[in-house]
Symmetry: C2
Subunit: 351 residues, 2 copies
């Protein structure tokens, strides 16, 4: 045993391959010198990359795996072959206590299914949620669930709020994050019954968060709240729509700058600032989504992250281990259960 944080890396997951994963681990090890890695994947490919990664070489063990979860695998297929794959073994190492977290850029559905099967959900959590940071005009905001659960009831949403607040305290360093439910209006009578019930529960209990009621989708980009809670269907629609709109505007912008010699010159003069803008919006700078609510820390990187992006995903895993996110969430949930009002229509069927 060691008091150094151990992170398991699925070296084969996603479109990025061993070159990006190992180079990113080198960056992360420099940033957090106590980090140890368990590298799951093809031994020969990993060894070839370690030549350029002395810090990782000195602070890791390789676990050879011949099989890989493909992007096209269904979750059921991935589970069947799970224990022979780099992704499955990385997750299993968290279950077995060999690692404190696992990071994979592989197939999201497969990672979710295997993590849920191997690690199980925490006491008091019915379903894990996928949480990530999105850029705003101010700092970043946490948004969850981003697609793990298509349909959610009020209890699920309350659990997501508790987990999202704990995540924001760790990753954004906030003492009392502002939390809101995503809805189609800010008035109390808007939205589905599930949302109204979740809002009533969150208003009634004292948790380490400031519950701010409902927000609409246009607030996601403004940064007026720190945690935005929604079901996985709406969360995925919002995330993808934001990505698409970002690409639409930057695509039109590139077209605008190409339109004449004058605008090309204008671009050259503004280039530095425009690149800084591009960096702020670059998904690699917000990389590292987390499955919250499991008995263990599982971080999902974008499948096409670059070295900086995957290093950031490792950084997220590092922060969540350091702050003991799993413990924080279970404390908050216990606190919520102890203080939840008995009179609220928590279960409409019993009302």
């Amino acid at each position: 045993m060691t008091d150094r944080p151990v992170i398991a890396l699925d070296v084969m997951g996603g479109d990025i391959g061993p070159a990006v994963v190992i180079a990113a681990a080198e960056v992360a090890q420099q940033r957090y010198p106590k980090l140890l890695f368990r590298l799951y994947g093809d031994q020969a490919l990993i060894a070839a990359e370690l030549v350029r990664a002395p810090r990782v070489t000195a602070n890791s063990v390789i676990v050879h795996t011949a099989e890989v979860v493909l992007g096209t695998d269904k979750p059921s297929q991935a589970i069947r072959r799970g224990r022979a794959t780099s992704m499955g073994l990385a997750v299993m190492s968290v279950k077995d206590g060999e690692a404190m977290a696992a990071v994979s850029a592989g197939n999201t559905g497969a990672l979710m299914a295997m993590s849920k099967l191997m690690l199980r959900t925490m006491d008091g959590i019915d379903r894990p949620a996928l949480a990530a940071l999105l850029p705003t005009l101010k700092s970043d905001s946490v948004v969850l669930d981003l697609g793990a659960n298509t349909e959610c009831d009020a209890e699920n949403l309350v659990q997501f709020a508790v987990m999202g607040a704990a995540f924001a305290r760790d990753v954004l360093g906030l003492a009392r994050p502002r939390v809101a439910l995503l809805n189609i209006g800010e008035e109390e009578l808007k939205g589905t019954d599930e949302l109204k019930e979740a809002a009533a529960l969150l208003r009634a209990v004292d948790l380490p968060m400031a519950f701010e009621g409902f927000v609409e989708g246009d607030k996601i980009g403004r940064g007026d709240v720190d945690v935005i809670v929604t079901d996985g269907f709406s969360g995925n629609i919002a995330l993808k729509t934001a990505e698409g709109t970002g690409r639409l505007v930057t695509g039109l912008l590139a077209e605008a700058f190409r339109s004449s010699w004058l605008t090309r010159l204008g671009y050259l003069l503004s280039r530095g600032a425009l690149r800084a803008l591009g960096r702020h919006l670059d998904p690699n700078n917000h990389n590292g989504a987390v499955f919250l609510g499991l008995n263990g820390v599982i971080v999902k990187s974008h499948g096409s992250a670059n070295v900086r992006g995957f290093a950031n995903a490792i950084g997220v895993a590092h922060d969540l281990i350091a702050d003991n996110i799993t413990r924080r969430i279970s404390d908050d949930l216990a606190n919520f259960r102890a203080h939840r009002p008995a009179v609220l229509p928590a279960d409409p069927a019993s009302a």
Copy 2:
């Protein structure tokens, strides 16, 4: 009676007031010289604006109304006072055949409730849907429902697809619009049962559209399909998220240009092209959402539209009248009902 198109205008609706509405009507009358208007609102305020609008003066009648639907009115309040308000009387004129369409920048919920109550839904339509044009990298796309119906079943979604395709044929001038359902993945097994069932129905029948299955939210900005169909909850989340992200990127862009003398100069040189980009994204150039599925054409303008924006909303009403959208939708629905497969689980309860 006349063969000239008559459009009722709620002169008092929204934040914009008579000055913008009458000036916009003047622009629209110039664009479509056959247009006649019925102007609903405060006679003195309208008369004061008509001084600067000779075309509208010569081609309109004023119907004085003392009451106004407020932005804060609940739909139920609006309905109670409905027939005395400028919005209610404008809608009623469509019901009575005095006008062929009504345009209002007022309270969306109130306009929806009054339109549904007074005009009723068309045969074969269970619920009206709010449809609008959104900018893309190519042309515009139709998106519906944008918030009229929080929850929808498969039949509702199919009806929205039929109505959205008819709308796209009229407003975008397409013979065979590409139609897709908004989902959290493009594979057939993704999403809710309602979505899967709606997709099966749309695949099985031959309608004047090319059904392209599922699309994710990032496709909204790309323009790969012409009509995107979704329930009102997700549609509203997507619309608002797109607006918020647009403002996020343009806000960061403005900041980037202000960052130094060099970037300020760069902005000056690029200004023309950047303004053209701004115009492409300006909601005023996509103004005019429509409640589809009613026995009559009701167009909703942004509450804060400018003259060009409200004139565009009147233009949408004009096009829908000219193309007889109500007839088109009912023909398509009859065609769908005649050819829908009997074997599909259209009603899961009977399966």
